[in-house]
Amino acid sequence: MGYLEELLVKEGLSLVGKRVSRPDALDKVLGRPLFTADKLTRGMLWAKIVRSKYPHAIIKRIDKGKALGVPGVLTVLTAEDIPGENQIGYAIPDQPLLAMDKVRFVGEPVAVVVAENEEAAEKGAELVEIEYESLPAVFDPLEALKPVAPRIHESGNIATTTIIRKGDVEKGFREADVIVENTYKTQRQEHAYLETETVIAVPEINKVTILACMQSPWLIRRMVAKVLGYKQSKVRVIELPAGGAFGGKDDMIPMIAPIAALAAVKTGKPVFLMFKRDETFEASNKRHPSIIRYKSGATKDGKLVAVEIEIIYETGAYANRGPFVLWRATAHAAGPYEVPNVKVDGKLVYTNRVFSGSFRGFGDPQIHFAAESQMDELAAKLGMDPVEFRLKNILKPGLTTTCGQVVDQSVGVEEALRKLAEKINWEKRKREIEEYNRESKRKLKGIGVACAYHGISTSRGAPDWSAAAVIINEDGTITYKGGICRLGQGSLIGHAKIVAEILGVPLSYIQIEGPDTDAIPEARPTHGSRGLMTGGTAAADAASKLRRNIVRVASEMLECKTEDIEIKDALIYVKPDPSRNIPFSEAAKELYVRGYETAAYGFYRAPKRFFDPKTGLGVAYGVYVYIVNIAEVEVDTWTGQVKVERVHTAADVGKAIDPDLIEQQFHGAIAQGLGLTLTEDIVFSDGKILNNNYTDYVIPTVKDRVEVPTVVLVEQPYKGAAFGAKGVAEAALIPTPPAITNAIRHATGIRFKELPVTPEKVYFALKKRRGEKS
């Protein structure tokens, strides 16, 4: 048996599956200096980015003179100072680190001022003179698609396209008894993590070290090396805990660490670079706005027969992660259902607005908003209950996804939906609400359901792996060096539980260390809900290797067979005679004395997947996490105010390494989904963001909090990961918007197809329906 099979059947687990209190909480409660800005020391230089004020313009001239005259300013760097490649495009090489001849959005970095202190850097940044020749700009993706639109990139305004051709949609629609067709729109969402993007770069002899909050240490290393013209071994990246990330820091830190590194290398001094809140709003990636035309057909007995979908995702000025975000949306376009005939066409469109990118859900919230709204509209047309209709089509082992992938294991969406509906008494609750509404004049209640699935990690057959390291110290303590970043989600705590479980020691024995590119091989990024699954499996691999050594040395010490050794609570004993035992620490010391290996690297490798770009068919993701949300709302018909009273949630998590950490992720994800559904929206004027602060961009406060009274964890293990666990960090956000809008539809009869559903929109929609003049 390989170590993964062994773990799947391991009995008497002491940590895995149990709730622990977070080992990182105390330091955070005490406000200890964990974060990047806490590491600022005297003597560090400040870097300040000079940004474009134009949405689309040619750079005619840059004059550094006045800025250099500011006392304390040491240097002003522009594209021409870059020794390596001035290119940080992720999927497509379309994005310079510092703009060269052209700027494409308001807020684009053009130069960087490096000074002895913050005031000088800011003063200098104001005095860098940039002469522009303004170009016509385009702010709307549909406008950008017109042949007469200004060209943002030489290749045109379409960054990429995607397709899926599964079955024959025309035939499918001929078989359909009901057809529903709608266009859905979603908006730009800001991550709004409390800690803004912050980086420290420290120059060393022929080397540079980056310290920062981040999600992708090895990508940062690649980008810094590329921009400086260094070999990767000459760049060291050390991860610090992030004050929230949600995808934003996956994209942004690789784009700004090279700026700090460049400044550090040019000045020979450590450099501190921190975005102000308005910079984060104006110049950091956002959730892709979308326009989705969705046509679905079903037979009268409730079987989905065809979906035809056109997706437009607005990527803004640069493609960034857009091609992957669009692909993910395409691959999940039909929702977690089997649909025999699928046609999807996706376009990723450039505009002269801040670029879009990674954000919790990575393209899936938008497409599920459309897909799950459609499901309810079809159910309504068929006169069927939304849960019942979903159950008729839901993915089960052996059925195929949007892109024709046969899902064979860990497909617990049916179980999740059934259990959640049962637990909250869906039928009865629905009836109660309908009765309440018949009596109620002002307030209407509603209940709505939405399902979602989300492929874990990377897709389309791209290779995927992870790594970790475990060291057994001479006193029996364990140092765990993870490759997954600390964003607040607690992946590394999950890894540490796995390591402790395998080695048979309490969690307190494990010292958890974040990624350091000089300490472990590439573990790949912390995104796509992959941290626990891929990193945890690498951790299990390393721990399993060391367990073999511990068992061997203990069997020598206790003079018994290796099969008879058991380890629990840091005590190693002989199973048939537990009185023969030694503490873990003694065996640890003996490992050193007898020359056993006391440290191990662990690896995870994703199974090989196959994907045909011509049809969009293939094995898109190794495994999917499935989630179901049921939202209950109350609509104030006088004001249009929607109050989300509660969201119930159920998910197939494979195996819950820590049910409490999972619940924490659900809470946060639902809150972000709430903001996306009801309030959050970036507003522009001529390409400039107007609501660049927390007053004008409204994220949920404690008063907007949504209770999550019911959490059901379904555990259908995934055999490719340690203990069968899958990642959950993004999942609960994805079905939140459609669960809420389906509930609003249930309450009011009105289908909202555009996010956010503001009180104004609700108010006027209700008014219009009453046939009053607005």
Partner: protein
């Protein structure tokens, strides 16, 4: 004020008297973090929107990014560093950890400072009291559910022991 426009101010920080030359435009947050290396107050927005920089000024929670350093002359400033032995803080520390009310932790010191002020004022706060006390403290990670529970439970703990 000296010829550079700098001012000498006297205040107490976490119980210790301090005299410091400050620039008139420094914020209290800058003074604490950059000059005095008191790092529990965090900078999230610098404009009074997020509450990550909350400290106690004469016992009242304030956004230290909105207070100018000269304004604290003669006043008393308390941050998490000065609350370690405080009974409200201790109760909150325990319940925030037990309840899992901490994710990234960037908002946490500010929230706890606001909660300490609440619990000192009201021994038995209602959920609405807690909401009002914490309304100025944003958290993007937790959805606030556990935070409310943790504050509630800390209040109950304190009631029991008093």
């Amino acid at each position: 004020m000296n010829e550079t426009g700098n001012l000498k101010i006297k205040f107490t920080l976490n119980g210790k008297p301090i005299e410091y030359m400050v620039k008139p435009n420094w914020t209290l947050l800058d003074l604490l973090r950059k000059e005095l290396s008191v790092l529990s107050p965090k900078e999230g927005c610098s404009r009074g929107d997020c509450g990550a920089c909350t400290v106690l000024l004469n016992g009242k929670p304030v956004n230290s990014c909105l207070v100018l350093a000269p304004q604290i002359d003669g006043k008393e400033i308390v941050t998490v560093e000065g609350l370690i032995e405080d009974k409200e803080f201790k109760a909150l520390k325990e319940t925030f950890i037990e309840k899992g009310a901490v994710q990234c932790g960037f908002c946490t010191p500010g929230i706890i400072v606001s909660a300490v002020a609440l619990l000192r004022e009201k021994g038995n706060p209602t959920v609405q009291d807690i909401e009002e006390a914490l309304e100025g403290n944003l958290c993007r990670c937790t959805g606030y559910i556990r935070i409310i529970e943790a504050v509630k439970q800390a209040a109950e703990k304190l009631q029991k022991t008093s």
